[in-house]
């Protein structure tokens, strides 16, 4: 594995009118890593993602990506640099057919730089990507309006939007949540393949079993603070983590 650092988050903090949503979080990520971020509801996972990808501006701290300080960049510039994300609440273009949903990312400057954007016809590339991520090619599914697709396809569509940009780092915000068991089972190999292609992944998840299959490092958040960082196997040995998960009113079933 390559030891080159791709993302460095240093002392990032953010508060919403008095509530400290993210409190002094730091971590580092090497190329090819798969980092899992877990934590109870409201522990600041999504806020952290928004801070890294520029959708929110942090109060304090810096985010360094590929050696550049991106803390003040606009979201589209960060995406243009190859750091892309999915949304927890899927955001398809619901009045467009599924395959047309991939046209905007393919239309971007990054896509024409990295190759997918100027290959023949963008519609054809879009269909190919959709097939790659599990849309049945010779059915009418890719032509259905995105607004009519079931949840599993929408999650894939989110991933497809990222893949179309040929990213270096994907941040997945709960791609497994809300999916049925069989849908998850078909998603895991997809994530593993992305990892094999050398794409660095950050996965925010509640489905721990599937997460631990792909992740090689885990961060646990609680009330905006990082309370644990280490290997997946060690997570539940840690007293603080146990307290965060079992101590409060939130009870989770793990296995």
């Amino acid at each position: 594995m390559n030891d080159e650092s791709i993302l460095k988050v240093k002392n990032v903090s953010k508060s919403f009118s008095g509530v400290q949503a993210v409190d002094d979080i730091s971590f580092e990520l090497s190329k090819g890593d798969v980092l899992g971020i877990i934590g109870p509801n409201g522990s600041g996972k999504t806020t952290l993602i928004n801070l890294i990808t520029g959708f929110l501006k942090q109060d304090k701290g810096t985010v360094v990506y590929n050696g550049e300080d991106i803390s003040k960049w606009m979201p589209h510039k960060i995406a243009d640099a190859g750091l892309v994300r999915t949304f927890q609440f899927m955001r398809p273009y619901h009045t467009l057919p599924a395959y047309k949903n991939l046209i905007p990312p393919l239309y971007s400057k990054r896509a024409s730089r990295t190759g997918l954007g100027n290959l023949g016809d963008r519609d054809a590339v879009a269909i190919d990507i959709l097939e790659d991520i599990g849309f049945e090619r010779d059915t009418r599914v890719p032509f259905k309006l995105a607004g009519t697709l079931p949840l599993g396809y929408l999650k894939r569509l989110e991933l497809g939007r990222c893949i179309a940009l040929k990213p270096e780092l994907i941040i997945c915000d709960e791609v497994f949540s809300g999916l049925s068991m069989s849908e998850i089972v078909s998603m895991v190999p997809l994530m593993e393949r992305l990892q094999e292609e050398g794409i660095t992944l950050i996965m925010v998840e509640h489905r721990l079993r599937e997460l631990f299959r792909v992740a090689n490092r885990v961060i646990v958040l609680s009330f905006g603070k990082k309370i644990f960082e280490g290997f997946p196997e060690e997570v539940f040995e840690d007293e603080k983590v146990k307290e965060a998960y079992f101590g409060g009113e939130d009870t989770y079933v793990f296995k």
């Binding site: 979201p75 995406a79 398809p92 619901h94 905007p104 016809d121």
Partner: protein
Amino acid sequence: MQELRKERLDRGVKVRSESIYAISSLKEIMFIIGPGLLLAALLLILPLFVSSYWQGVLKITGVYVLLAIGFGFLANYVGLVSLGGALFVGVGGYLSGGLNYFFDLPMIVTIPIAAVGGALICTILLLPALPLRGVYFAIVTLVYPMALSRIIVATGAFRGTDGLPGLERFPVGIGPIYLIFIVILICLYLLSRLVNYEDFGLVLRGVKDNELSIKASALHLTWYKIQAVFIAAFMGCFAGAYLTHLYGWVGTSLLAQDFSILPVAAAVVGGPGTIFGPLVGAFILVPISEAMRDYGTLRIVFYAIILVIFVVFWTEGILDYLKRKYEQFEHWVEM
């Protein structure tokens, strides 16, 4: 040496045609393009057969059609609702009028300059509201025309309330009607291609559906909105310049409420489903409005009420209703 593998990609036509069953016969092709051809033919033939009063009405209608198409394009395909068609008309009109009055440029020069330059000015004026979502664009577009007319009256620029008289006028006859109708047809053709087939147009529709996804797709959201506003402003400013040389006069009435609210009403009445909706709406509303000219501002009341009724009770609009009837079979079945 690097090993290469040949990859084959379907042509877009092949990919897309998998979503269409079959267009096999002339009859079916006519079913699809017939209404458009009929419309174009109607627009081109109509001016030949009407009285001179109705020719005048058609010219005004053309102005409103351009404004309404611009409004519909922004509202239905980019998600920006402009309550200030008067801004476009005013800027375009004053620009071409000013160039003609102060610099004696002929209208063949002033109209293109006014359309492009006016669109630039309008886009820059509206720039502050573009990065924001929601009601701000509507607010800013509503405020500008009113403020501009106050400024013109207060400072006496462009001769204040008197306006600029004696500008170059279009020759009488049907020439000017064809000018604006052909511009309308070109705009309609290009816009409907844009929003249905061009990738740029799809990005704009994406802006309407979901701004965050556009950002996450490495696209500069504001830049796309700027381009869309420029397109609509271009059409509006052309309409304003046309109006100027139609009357040979420029005044603060170019910034009046009519130009803001009637296009909105036309677009809403026509329906949001296609780029042609606003045209249908304008062809229904403007002649009625012209017929009501004797009743003064009562006609604004009239189309304000029509507007509210359509926005609240019949959002589908006329054209979408007709489209539904055209494309689908309907019949009652027993329960």
